[in-house]
């Protein structure tokens, strides 16, 4: 295909051709149509795309990507825009491909235990569809009722129950994708056993840098026979953290292990009236699940461990309703913190599970040092922290200080041998830490791979990779992209 150099001229040509492909109500260019797409779940960053298309068929997506390639205009696929790392902040002057109307479940095979879905299908919709056959889709991000499988694939999203069953990548068997040059290819297949390198694995978690997922083949699991949900209250956050270390060391493998601290308990309670114990400094939610006999056998061991960890109040969910209440509270916690603070950053660092207690003490120390409130609610079983760093963006310097604190927490994670992101992705926000996390040659390899797949860096340009594409994020002061006027903060 012949290519012409990128630029504004090309953009107008691109739109001319897009107009032939899309009716006016699915090609958005007016300010009122663009503004609502400017940011994702991390509102500190905003950018306005040149235009948005709302394809309804795979072919439209493919044609769109081909046109972008032809005119060298960067594009970004967008699901429900719930990314918490700036991952779905549009590319300034690029094209945004909104996939929400591609929300059909194309194939559902309960016997084979697979489902083939379009990328705009909502995470929870898959389990809802499979429920009558006693099947479900295991990865359960808190944003499950909202986020799309395309977004889940791009970020390799996790959830409370990924402790036992693994993240998105463990549940995606195959993918049909359109590569950044418009070519379509099939990665993986419809079973776990496959031939050749794990190309699906490469695409999952690539944050949209390798093109757009058009069809996703998911693995479904039989629903656990029983759940046993225990809520333990502690008089200190560190004790709750240490309890997790105890459970993990014991060899028990619960379906989920989550911790919420006082601030997040207050927020979640206000949001959904979850009725958490009012004097606890932290609670630990542990859920055993699986075959009835197995769970029955694990119960005494779990209670023993929890007692040993110093919990002062232990409650067991009596029925489904109580279990749901506990989980609804947990899953609404991020958004509920909006009640406590006008702005916050959700961090996503990971520490080894043996170092949870220690890390929580360190976060508390940093919070005091900076005099910034930090709420903690996290996938404790995975060591995946989610400190919610609260600030008031109207005060000058507040965002920068919050980012500084976030940076120190991330460095602490790296120091302990952990990671800068467990499930929310690098996006725009954490690109600056990639160099601290990875060595030069690691990054070099990633970049070569990107170059091989997308030499023009059209797909989601500017995300995840710190090199070459655009300057990296800094924690202090204005971001270089801001100085260039490419992105802006509110």
């Amino acid at each position: 295909m012949e290519r012409k150099p990128g630029g504004l001229m090309n953009a107008s040509k691109l739109f001319e051709q897009l107009r032939r492909l899309y009716p006016p109500d699915r090609l958005l260019t007016r300010p009122a149509q663009l503004a609502p797409y400017e940011s994702d779940g991390l509102t500190a960053f905003r950018a306005r795309p040149a235009g948005i298309v709302l394809p309804e068929t795979q072919d439209e997506v493919i044609q769109t990507v081909k046109l972008c390639y032809q005119h060298e205009i960067p594009f970004m696929a967008r699901g429900s825009g719930t990314s918490l790392s700036g991952g779905s902040v549009p590319i300034q002057d690029g094209l945004l491909i909104g996939l929400n109307r591609m929300n059909r479940i194309l194939q559902y095979e309960p016997k084979q235990r697979i489902a083939v879905v379009e990328p705009g299908v909502i995470n929870l919709a898959v389990s809802q569809r499979a429920t009558f056959d006693n099947l479900y889709y295991a990865p359960d991000p808190s944003s499950g009722p909202v986020c799309t499988l395309g977004g889940n694939v791009a970020f390799n999203s996790g959830g409370a129950h990924c402790l036992k069953y693994g993240m998105t990548s463990n549940h995606v068997l195959g993918l049909k994708v359109v590569l950044p040059n418009g070519e379509v290819c099939q990665l993986g297949g419809d079973s776990l056993e496959m031939v050749g390198p794990d190309m699906t694995g490469m695409f999952v978690g690539s944050e949209g840098l390798f093109g757009v997922a058009l069809e996703i083949t998911l693995r479904l699991l039989p629903k656990p026979e029983v759940y046993y949900t225990v809520q333990a209250a502690y008089d200190s956050l560190a004790k709750a953290g240490d309890a997790v270390t105890l459970v993990v060391a014991s060899g028990l493998l619960p379906g989920a292990m989550e911790i919420m601290d006082r601030l997040s308990l207050d927020a979640a309670d206000a949001a959904v009236g979850a009725g958490y114990p009012s004097d606890a400094k932290a609670i630990l939610i542990v859920e055993l699940e699986g075959i009835a006999e197995e769970v029955e056998a694990e119960k005494p061991r779990l209670h023993e461990l929890i007692e040993k960890s110093g919990a002062y109040l232990v409650e067991v969910a009596k029925d489904d309703e109580q279990r749901l209440k506990i989980w609804t509270g947990r899953k609404s916690a991020f958004s509920a913190v909006g009640r406590l603070s006008p702005d916050f950053i959700v961090q996503d660092g990971v520490v080894p599970r043996t170092k949870l207690g220690e890390s929580l003490v360190e976060i508390d120390r940093l919070s005091r040092e900076y005099d910034i409130r930090v709420a903690n609610v996290f996938h404790a079983g995975d060591g995946n922290l989610h400190p919610l760093i609260m600030y008031d963006g109207r005060q000058s310097g507040a965002l920068e200080r919050a980012e500084c604190l976030a940076g120190e927490i991330l460095r602490h994670c790296i120091r302990l041998g952990g990671s800068i992101t467990g499930e929310h992705g690098v996006g725009l926000e954490k690109r600056g830490y990639m160099r601290e996390m990875f060595g030069e040659s690691d990054l070099e390899f990633m970049f070569e791979l990107r170059h091989a797949v997308d030499p023009l860096q059209l797909a989601n340009r500017g995300k995840m990779l710190p090199m070459a594409e655009s300057p990296v994020l800094t924690t202090r002061g204005a971001h270089p992209l801001e100085k260039q006027g490419i992105i802006s903060r509110e």
Binding site: A32, Q33, E38, A44, G98, P145, S332, G338, E490
Partner: protein, 426 residues
């Protein structure tokens, strides 16, 4: 979300609007419950997107005219408020925004005439009755009346029931347990006067004396939600004066009116009556909420076992947080089995004047609601809002499912009087 809304310049509404914007963390939890997002799957037609649009306008970065098409498509069902973990007051933002927007609207002539017609008839029972009669005669000419005017005609019943004047005082039967004042509702008085009578009888049966202030005006909700802020304030002021202080509660039996009255303090923000309005709002209750609170003292019984599906009016369940109470009341009735409607918290598309302004979407939502009801084996639909009742009835008929739609009070009333549940539905 951060914003630079010039709160003081905007006036009394600046504060609640800015607060709603600020509380929104852009998480998208409201998307799956929003009826318009479910239809269009685009951000501009989602709660989160509308908040951004309103913010942009208030900040002076976007013209009203650009944003209004999307804000206008909002049903005002406030399902998003129930879903929002962050506690965003979307309803207040929307009402205030619509009020502000009115001044800068460029309405077409037809638009202005329609709006004038709606705002000068619907809130006045006598005029509405007259208008409805005229409209009825025009029904055979339906084919000649295009667009929205035609849709208005469609909603009018073919016969109007006779409406007897409500008494000033309706005494309690037996010892008096409480004393309340009732808002009679404008459209309701004309379209289904039986709802008010049933309400009076049911309350009396349970020891509640009801006062019906004869001078009362429309609650003002219709005006407020179509941006006619001054008219809404006028109605609110009037009602503040004519409703008595010495009652246990001010009751409404139409969810839309109830949620409108709950907004009096917002409408009168910055006005001398603001404090009075705040106290008034505290006393406004839906009849089901109040009755469930004081408790049923006479158990009612239906002649035949009957399945009744509870329809959740948005302005009850989302705007006033009333979900359990009507169910509790119906559950006390012997021989009555409650049925749940799938996705009961999604709007039926009635939403005030939405039927007139966005007929296509209204119809789509109405059809979906009727289909959801049709998927159950219910024999009767119970509802707490005249708007929903008309809408659901229309679409059930289109679907060829003749399931009577009744107010919760009508069902209780039938049960008390021992007459078949579906006997009188004019």
């Amino acid at each position: 979300m951060q914003h630079t809304i010039p709160v003081d310049e905007i006036g009394p509404w600046g504060q609640p609007m800015a607060e709603a914007v600020q509380k929104c963390v852009h998480c998208g939890f409201c998307l799956p419950v929003c009826p318009t997002y479910r239809v269009w799957r685009e951000e501009m037609d989602s709660p989160r997107g509308r908040i951004v649009l309103m913010k942009e306008v208030l900040e002076g970065r976007l013209e009203f005219d650009e944003a209004l098409p999307y804000v206008d498509r909002c049903l005002g069902c406030v399902g998003c408020e129930t879903a929002c973990p962050s506690g965003v007051g979307y309803g207040e933002l929307l009402t205030s925004f619509r009020g502000l927007a009115e001044a800068s609207r460029n309405r077409s002539l037809l638009d202005r005439v329609l709006r004038w017609f709606v705002l000068t008839t619907l809130p006045y029972p006598a005029r509405f009755r007259w208008g409805a009669r005229m409209g009825r005669w025009a029904k055979p000419l339906r084919g000649l009346v295009p667009g929205r005017l035609g849709n208005m005609l469609d909603l009018l019943p073919s016969t109007l029931p006779h409406a007897e004047r409500l008494p000033e005082v309706y005494p309690a039967e037996g010892p008096r347990r409480a004393r309340v004042a009732l808002l009679a509702g404008c459209a309701q008085q004309v379209l289904a006067p039986d709802i008010n009578w049933a309400t009076l009888r049911v309350l009396a049966k349970n020891g509640v004396e009801v006062i019906v202030p004869q001078e009362q005006a429309c609650c003002g909700a219709l005006a407020a939600h179509t941006g006619a802020a001054a008219q809404a304030r006028r109605f609110a002021r009037h009602n503040l004066q004519v409703f008595p202080d010495d009652v246990d509660a001010i009751l409404t039996n139409a969810a839309g009116c109830g949620s409108g009255m709950h907004e009096y303090a917002l409408w009168l923000r910055g006005e001398p009556e603001e404090a009075v309005a705040e106290a008034f709002v505290q006393r406004v209750r839906d009849v089901t909420e109040f009755l469930a609170d004081v408790g049923i003292c006479t158990i009612a019984r239906l002649e035949k076992p009957t399945r009744v599906a509870m329809h959740d009016a948005c302005h009850l369940v989302h705007a006033q947080g009333i979900r359990q109470q009507p169910r509790e009341l119906l559950a006390t009735v012997e021989n009555l089995e409650l049925v749940e409607i799938p996705e009961s918290d999604i709007c039926c598309g009635s939403a005030g004047t939405y039927n007139i302004e966005q007929p296509q979407t209204a119809a789509e939502l109405g059809q979906k609601k009727a289909a959801a009801i049709g998927s159950t084996d219910t024999q009767v639909v119970a509802a707490g809002n005249i708007g929903c009742m008309t809408q659901i009835n229309t679409h059930l008929i289109h679907l060829n499912r003749h399931i009577p739609v009744m107010h919760t009070m009508q069902i209780l009333d039938r049960a008390y009087r021992g007459i078949p549940i579906d006997q009188i539905y004019e």
